[in-house]
């Protein structure tokens, strides 16, 4: 599948679309959290690009940060220090977790990206919180217009919502193909498809997705059958871990990742004032665990497990990610009560511990196979 190969190459902050965008003198804005309202950015003719770090060692960032820090947040900062985000004209953070909030201080002090913005995302979903978030997004819009000398009209916002919702629907169609056995799209491929959607203009991605959906039915090399697994965790900016699972007899058919289903599962509702509709979509989406409460996420995982015929769940906890680590034992317990076997793994955002992970995943799959 050439299209799959192409999408994979786009998972980089300097892919050909980003370069082309820059060549036309249009700004690119990096963002790190799935709570960033990309529609507003896109509506202003700015390209939102997800900052995903990398699995390489974070040698430069280690100078400023101790060991007991989220290796993902560290890795993003490391790449910024190395100048690998030099194509970005700005950087947006959301009030998501202590790791991101506090490393944002370091971005401001040590990197050369001067246009930065912090969106004060609430941690609850009350009416009060929604009103505040909507106002906060209004302030973000003002900042975009002033900093980049652009206009963002209501019509632009409506168009952006349409394009983004279409992308979400298409991504859901891709996920649908994983319900069959064996799935028509493997877990690592699905992750790469979703990741690529965060890196290029959404209208372009929609075209690629439609072409992919047309072609994929007749693909010559469908994924192998394997133990049907759901992977739960935070951010996975690289398909390496899922490939590892697939190499030892697993078939990742569903996920609860902030770079997976949590990124696109919910649509912006029609018929509301666009800014409020956007605020509502992000605040009420399948929550990340920094939100109160986690019950909705747990429900999402249980539901996905059912819909996708899942036989076992692997929870990946990034070390020093407090919000996921507190949830992990609770989620594991709930799933076990439903009769689903669970494997909890701690990992660092790097390839250094892969051998150990492989052994444990292999043992888990063998156990499932009985």
């Amino acid at each position: 599948m050439e299209l799959l190969e192409l999408l994979k190459t786009l998972i980089s902050a300097d892919n050909k679309f980003v370069k082309e965008w820059k060549r036309r003198n249009k700004p690119v804005l990096g963002y790190v959290c799935s709570y960033t309202p990309e529609e507003i950015i896109y509506a202003g003719g700015i390209l939102p690009v997800r900052v995903l770090g990398s699995l390489e060692p974070s040698r430069l960032a280690d100078v400023y940060l101790p060991v007991n820090v989220c290796s993902f947040a560290k890795s993003c900062f490391n790449r910024a220090l190395k100048g690998e985000y030099s194509l970005l004209d700005g950087y947006v953070v959301s009030n998501s977790c202590d790791n991101q909030n506090k490393i944002y201080d370091l971005w401001r002090h040590h990197t050369t990206i001067h246009k930065t913005y912090f969106i004060n995302t609430p941690h609850s979903t009350t009416e009060n919180a929604l009103r505040f978030f909507c106002e906060e997004l209004g302030r973000f819009k003002e900042w975009l217009m002033k900093s980049f000398e652009i206009e963002i009209s209501e019509q632009n916002l409506k168009n952006a919502i349409k394009v983004f919702n279409e992308n979400r629907r298409l991504l859901k169609q891709v996920y649908e193909l994983r319900k069959q056995n064996p799935p028509l799209v493997s877990g690592s491929e699905a992750l790469e498809i979703v990741l690529s959607s965060m890196m290029i203009p959404k209208n372009e991605h929609n075209k690629l997705l439609k072409a992919l959906l047309d072609e994929i039915e007749g693909r010559g090399n469908p994924p192998k059958e394997g133990m049907r697994l759901l992977v739960s965790g935070s951010v996975m900016g690289d398909s390496e871990l899922l490939r590892l699972i697939e190499s030892v007899g697993g078939s990742v058919v569903a996920d609860d990742l902030c770079t997976g289903s949590r990124y696109f599962w919910n649509l912006v509702r029609k018929g509301r004032e666009p800014m409020m509709a956007i605020a509502e979509r992000y605040l009420h989406k399948v929550p990340c665990p920094f939100m109160y409460s986690s019950e909705e996420r747990f429900r999402h995982v249980r539901e996905m497990a059912k819909l996708f015929g899942v036989e076992g769940v692997i929870i990946f906890c990034l070390k020093f990610c407090d919000v996921h680590s507190f949830d992990a034992p609770l989620l594991a317990e709930e799933l076990k009560e439903e009769g689903l076997p669970v494997l909890c793994l701690e990992w660092e955002y790097s390839l250094s511990g892969v051998a150990q992970l492989r052994t444990r995943i292999e043992a888990f799959i063998e156990m499932l196979e009985g």
Binding site: V63, Y64, L65, P66, N68, V69, C70, N95, C97, D98, N99, N101, K102, I103, Y104, D105, L106, H109, F118, N120, P122, H123, S124, T126, N128, A129, F132, E135, P289, F290, Y292, S293, S294, C317, K319, F320, D322, V323, S325, F326, D327, A328, P329, L330, A332, C344, E346
Partner: protein, 403 residues
């Protein structure tokens, strides 16, 4: 050196902390409503609804001081809670899995839990876990992050408004849950007492600016208990009045808490609760802690005619809720005002909030004051990774470099 110990602080635990837990357990038995409270939640609101507050954080530090925190942490770890999580949280969750032989009979069981997002993610997550274990509701105060690090007077007014509306809504929910009306007069009285306690606390800190300083960290980390937990009470005011006059007397007589004061230090973050002797060891090196950031974040001038707004201003500007600039300004100010010649920045293994950015703090403090800082890798409650020899060697070497 024992004659130098402060009279007011003798028997602090037996006189204040132990009776607090006894009365909380008694209240629990009598069926009064007990709430678990995370620090940085405006407890004055609870007192005005007749809710009995207890502080899991305080309980964790107590368990550490009694050297039982590590076995409790291990119990939580066995239930799947990562070793890298906050040791306060692990210790208290562990205590829920073992009802036997806990200090002070364990922490009283809650009828409800209240937390704020003001300080850290851990408050919210830890309390969410406890709420599930007890099957009791968690009431959350969702606080905007003070991204400019603004002081209480310079806050973005929209943040203040949002805090106020959240607090009003929450007070309504608490009233409904408890079936008790919030007593507005009691709230005002509590705020007035809180103010008085704050004033006294700051006077106490002012006394420590003197050379030699009449009080060190060991005393301060005990005495701050009222500021942290129950500032708006007669007991807090009475205690601080007594402490303040004792310190003023010491200052008049020129008696320092240690005999030969060579190094005056600012201490950031938490102490090693499991080894409070550490400060005595410092004293043997001629070093005394003249200020802790921890002692300078809980005081606040509250206006009883605008209770919610003043609570909003107090907590939104709490260092824990702010961008790094606020912490830097606070520490630099302490260095200057307290004539310190060194700064200790202890990390806390499970605390992202205080650990990240210490390198920036160190660099800026040097720029602003000329004073160098020492980062120490430790933990407040979990001593398993504590390398006493290494820490002390580092510290002694550091002290030798101070002017």
């Amino acid at each position: 050196m024992s004659e130098r110990r402060l009279e007011t602080l003798k028997g602090f635990y037996a006189n204040y902390v132990k009776p607090f837990y006894e009365s909380a357990h008694k209240a629990e038995e009598e069926g009064k409503l007990v709430a678990w409270v995370a620090s940085t939640f405006p407890v004055e609101i609870l007192l005005a609804i007749d809710i009995i507050p207890v502080w899991p954080e305080n309980y964790a530090s107590l368990c550490a001081a009694r050297r039982v925190s590590v076995p409790l942490c291990e119990l939580a770890e066995r239930k799947g809670f990562s070793k890298d999580l906050c040791s306060y949280a692990r210790c208290v969750l562990g205590s829920l899995f073992d009802g036997e032989s806990l200090p002070e009979g364990g922490i009283p069981k809650p009828d409800l839990l209240v937390a704020s997002t003001c300080a850290c993610d851990t408050h919210l997550k830890w309390f969410q876990v406890a709420s599930r274990i007890f099957k009791k509701p968690l009431f959350l105060l969702d606080v905007p992050y003070n991204v400019k690090g603004a002081s209480s007077e310079n806050l973005d007014y929209r943040y203040v408004q949002h805090y106020v509306s959240q607090l009003e809504a929450l007070a309504g929910l608490l009233e409904k849950h408890c079936g008790t009306k919030l007593d507005g007069d009691k709230l005002k009285r509590t705020l007035k007492l809180s103010n008085r306690a704050s004033e006294l606390w700051l006077e106490i800190q002012d006394c420590r600016k003197n050379v030699p300083t009449p009080m060190g960290a060991r005393e301060a980390f005990s005495a701050v208990y009222f500021m942290l937990c129950i500032p708006g009470t007669e007991q807090a005011v009475g205690f601080y009045e007594k402490l303040c006059s004792e310190l003023e007397q010491r200052v008049k007589e020129g008696v320092g808490i240690i005999e030969n004061e060579k190094y005056r230090l600012v201490w950031d973050n938490l102490p090693l609760w499991f080894d409070l002797q550490f400060f005595q060891y410092l004293e043997t090196l001629g070093a005394v802690v003249v200020a802790e950031t921890f002692s300078h974040v809980w005081a606040g001038n509250l206006d009883p005619s605008k209770p919610y707004e003043s609570l909003a201003r107090k907590y939104l500007s709490n260092m824990a809720n702010c961008a790094i600039e606020r912490r830097i300004r606070l520490i630099a100010g302490l260095v200057k005002d307290f004539r310190a010649n060194g700064v200790v920045l202890p990390t806390n293994w499970g605390c992202r909030m205080m650990t990240i950015g210490e390198t920036v703090v160190k660099e800026k403090i040097r720029e602003m004051t000329g004073v160098s800082s020492l980062i120490l890798d430790v933990d407040s409650t979990d001593w398993r990774n504590y390398d006493e020899y290494q820490v002390k060697t580092k510290l002694e070497t550091y002290l030798k470099t101070l002017k």
